[in-house]
Amino acid sequence: MSWYALPTNVPWLTLAVVIPLSGALLVALTPTVARRVIKQLGVLASAITLLLVLGIIGGFQHGAGNLLQFEEARPWVPAIGISYHLGVDGLSLFLLGLNALLFLIAVLVTNSDTPRLKQFMLLLLILEAATAGILLSLDLILFYVFWEAMLVPLYFLIGVWGEGPRVYAAFKFLIYTVIGSFAMLIAILAVVAITFAQTGQPSFDWTVLVQHPASGVWQLPLNLGTIGIPQLLFLGFALAFAIKMPLFPLHTWLPAAYTAAPLPVVIVLAGLVSKLGAYGFLRFNLSLFPDAAHSLGPALAVLATAGILYGAFMALVQTDLKRLVAYASMSHLGFIGLGIFAGNLLGIEGALVQMVNHGVIIAALFLIVAMIERRTGTRDRAQLRGLGATAPLFAALFLVISLAALGLPGLNGFTGEFLIMLGAWTAFVPMAVGAGIGVILAAWYVLRFYQGSFQEAPPQPAGYGEMRIADAGVLAPLLALMIVVGVSPAFFPAAVEATVKAMPVLLR
C-alpha cells in the first residue's frame, strides 16, 4: 500500500543528494556580496529537496515484500566489490524527511548578515548532501565516505562561525569523531574480509553482508580468554555511533559543541547528526551482528539508561539555556538508545519514531532559546523572568514544545517514549524503570526551564516583545508534527513495520 507510485526510471535518491549539492554549486558561483541571492538559493535548494523527499515518503510502498525501495546500484570499484548503491527502507525513510525538514529550517533561520555567508551556505548544503548520503548508502565504503564528508563541513561550521571557545569545541568534536570513525573503518574492512573468506566474492554491499553474519571466536593472547569476532566488530561500529549519538560517557564533546555552534548548525547537529549515530546502530550493528547485539545489548542499555538519568540531572542545574537543552537532548537520546538495544519490535519502532520526534523537539527548543537570546541578549536563566506576560503567543508555543519535550501523553514525545519503555520492559525491566524515573525528572527540569524564564514577576528584562510571525512560521511545521505524531501516529508503524520485522536482530 502507498499513496501513489512514483515512476521507476528516475534516480530519486540520487536527486536527494544532488539537489543540495547543485545548490551548493550555484552558491559557489554567486558573488559574495549578493547575500540575498545566496540565502534564496539555499532556501530554494533545501525546499526542493524537502518536496522531493516528501514525494519519496508518499511513494514508499508499505507492507512486506519490498523492503528496500528506490534502489540504485552501479559498480564503482568492481574489483573489490565497491558499488554506488542507494536505497531507502523503514529505517531511513522518515529520517530522510527529518533531514530535509531540518535543513530547510536551518537555512531559513540563517541570518543574512552572517559573516562569510557564502561559505556558510555552501558548507550547510554540502552537509545536507552528506547526511542524506549517509541515510541512503547501502555500500559500506560509500557510507564511510559520506560519514567522513559530514565531518568536514561540521568542523568548519562550528570552528569558524561558532561562539565562545569555538575552536576548542570544534576540535574536541573532531578528535572524538575521528577516533570513532577509525574504529569503524577497521571494522568495515574486517567484516568484508571475513565475508570474503566465506564467499570468495569481495563485497562492501550491505545487502550481501547482511546475508553472511560474521562468526567465530578470537583467542586473546596470554590466556586472557576469548572474545567473539562478531562482538569485536560490533564494538568497532558501536564506538563510532556511540560517540556520534552520544552514548554516556562519551558525551563530553556534546555540551561544548552544542553551545558553541551557531543556531542553524546546532539545529542540524542536535536534531539530525545525533540521530545518524542511532541510525548506524540499527543499520549496521543490529543488522550485521544480531548475535552480538543480543549479547552486548544489555550492557549498552545500561549506558543508555545511565545517559537518560545523567543528562536529566545535569539539565536540572544548568544556568545556560543552551547547555540545558544540550543535556536534555542527551537524556532523550538515552531513550532512543534504550529502544534500540532492547532489540525487539516495539523498542526499535519506538526508537525510530522517537528519532524523528527528538529531531523535531530539540530543533524547536534550540530555536526558542535562540529567539529568547536574540531579544534579551542573554541565555542565563538567572537573568530571565516573566517573559510570558508580554508575549502570550510566544509563551503558548514554548509551552507546547516544553510539553512535547517532557513526554506529555498526547504529544509526540510520549508516543516514542511509551513504545521504547514497553520494548525495554520486555527486554530488561530495571532499565525501563530507570527510564521512567527519567520521565519524572524531565517534567521537573523542563518546567523549571519554562516557568523560570516565562513566569513569575516582575518581568526581566522588561518589555519583552511578542513572537514574530516569521518565527512562528518556522515553528509551525514542528508544532504540527508534535500534535500529529502524538494523536494519530498510525502511519508510522504502517511504513516501518515490515522493515523492522525483517531485521536480523528480530529474526534470530
Binding site: 552514548l247 552486548l296 549506558l303 540531572f313 545535569m314 506576560a389 501523553p409 513504545l419 520521565v439 519524572i440
Partner: protein, 626 residues
Amino acid sequence: MDTLAPLVLLAPLAGFLVNALIGRQLPRRVVGWVGAGSVGLAFLFALLILAQVLQGQKLDQTYFTWWQSGDFNVPFNLYVDALSTLMILVITGVGFLIHVYSIGYMEEDQGYSRFFAYMNLFVLSMLLLVLSGNLVWLIIGWAGVGLSSYLLIGFWFERTSAVLAARKAFVMNTIGDVGMIFAAFLIFLNLRVMDYTAIFGRVHQLPKGGMVITAICLLLLVGAVAKSAQLPLHTWLPDAMEGPTPVSALIHAATMVTAGVYLVARMHLLYDWAPTAAATVAVVGGVTAFFAATIGTAQVDIKRILAYSTMSQIGYMFLAVGIGAYAAGMFHFMTHAFFKALLFMAAGNVIHAFHDDQDIRHMGNLRAGLPITFWTFLVGTLSISGFPLLAGFFSKDEIIRAALNLAGSEFWLGVLALITAGLTAYYMFRLFFIAFGWEWLSRDDRHLHEAAPIQTVPIVILATGAVVAGYIPVSNFLSPIFGNPVEQNIAVVIGLAALSVLVGLAGFGMAYLLHARRPELAVAWRTRLRPLHTLVEHKYFVDELYDLVFVRPGLALARFLNDRIEPKVIDGAVNGVADFFLVEAKEFRMIQTGRVRSYALWTLGGAIGVVLVVAAFLGYLPVRLG
C-alpha cells in the same frame, strides 16, 4: 450512540479551539458563553446518551488506529456504559454550572479567554479519560487533566507561589502517570491487549491474587493516588488552591481528583482478582480520610480547609471501591460533586467579598450581607456532615455500612470512617461558625455585597442537588456493571444511620461549643495540646519530609554531577592522564598540541570503559553485572 459519544468530546474541543486561537479578539461576553455553552452542549449530548443507556445500550466503538504493529494494537475507541455515563453527566452538568459561575467570577480578570480555554481543555481531557476504551487513551486523558490542572493552578503565573504549586502538582502527577504506564505494560505483556473489552475478557487467565495482577493493580493505584491526592502523593492538592476558585470547585473537588476512584471502579474486574491490592486501596482511602480530616481541623485558610475536606471525602470513596462497594463509592462521588462544588463556589463569593482574603478569622457575620451564599453554604455543610436525609447522609452511610458489614481490617476501617464522619462535622462547622458567624459573634461590620445572580444561581442549583441527590438510585443504575445492591436488614440500616447521626451531632456540638459558644475554650485547648496542634497545623510535616528526602538530595546530586563529576571526572580525569603525557612529552621535547592528545586519550579511555562494561556482561571479568 456511536456519533453521540464523539460529539460529547467535540463540543468542549471546539470551545477550547475557539477560545485558545481567537479568544483574545472576541468580546468577553462571547468568550464566556462559548466556554460555558460548549460544556452545556456536551451535557445535552450526555443526556441523550443517558436515555439510550437507560434502555440497556452500551458502546465500544473504534474510530481510528493509534498504533498497530505485531500484536500491539492500540485503537482510539470510546467505551460507554452506565459508569462512564454517570461520570460524563456529572462532569458536564456540574462543569456547566461552574463555567457559568466563572463568567461572573472571572469577569475582572485579564486572562479571561485563556481561562475558558484551559477550562474547556480540562473538560475535554476529563471526558476523554472516562470515555476512552483503552489504556493508552486513558493515559492521554489522564495526562490531559493533569496538564489543565497545572495550567489552572498556575493561572496567575506572576505569583511565585502559584508557579511552584503548579509545578509540584505536575511533577507529583507525573509519578502517577509513570505508574499507570507501567501498569499498562504489564497488562499488555501478560494479556497482549490494550482495550478494555479484551482486557476484561482475559483478566481471569491470570492466577487470582497472583504477583502479576497484584502488581498491575498496585501500579494503577500509584496513578490513582497521585491524581486523587491520597496518601502518600497528596501534598500537591492543598497548594493547588492557588488556582482561581472555580478551578478548585471543578477540578480539585468535583471531578478530576475523583479520577482515581473512577479508575478503580472501571478496573473493578482486575481489583476483584487482586484482593491484596484492593485491600491496599481500602487502607489508603480509610487512612487518608482520617488523616486529611484531622489536618482540616487546624487550618485557617477557607480553601485549604475545603481542600483537606476533599482529600478526606475522596478517602471515603477509595475505601468504598477498595472493599468492593463500587456503587457506593460512585454514589458518594456524585453527591460530593454537588456539595463540594457548591461549598467552593460559595467560598469564592465570600473571598471576593473580602477582597481575596482567605483567612477565616477575618470573616464573620455573613448572613445579612451574603444571604444566598450564607444559606447555600449552610446546606452544603449540612450535607457533607451527614445531616439526615440530605445527599451526603445517604452516600456516606452506604460506605460506612458496607465497611462495618465486613470482618477484619475492613471493619476497623469502617470504624475509622465513622470517627472521621464526626471530625468532618466538626471541621466543617468550625469553618462555618468562624467564617460565616452568627450575629452575636459579629466582629466585623464591613458592608458586604452578595454576588451577582450569575454566581448565585448555579450555587442554588447545586444546593438543590446537595439536598435531593441522595434519592437518585445510583446503585440500581450501575447494577449492570457492579451487580445488584445487597438487600440489608432495615433495622441495621436505621441503627447505623442513627449511630452516624449521633457521631455527626457530636462533631457539630464540639464545633458549636468551641467556636460559637465559648471560643475562649478553643484557645485554652490549643495551648494545652500545643505539640499535637502544631503537628496537625503543619500537615504532619510531610512537605518538609519530602523536601528533605527527595527534592534537596535530587538537586544536590545534580549539582554534584555538574560541579564535580562532569568537569573533574568525566571530562577532566583524562586531562590528568593527558597532563601526565604532556609532562612526559616535555621531557622528550615532543610538545605539540597537548589538548588534542588529551581528548584523543579520553576518547580511548571512554572506549576502554565501554569494553570493560561489555566484557563484564559477557562474563570475561570477575565482576557480574547482569
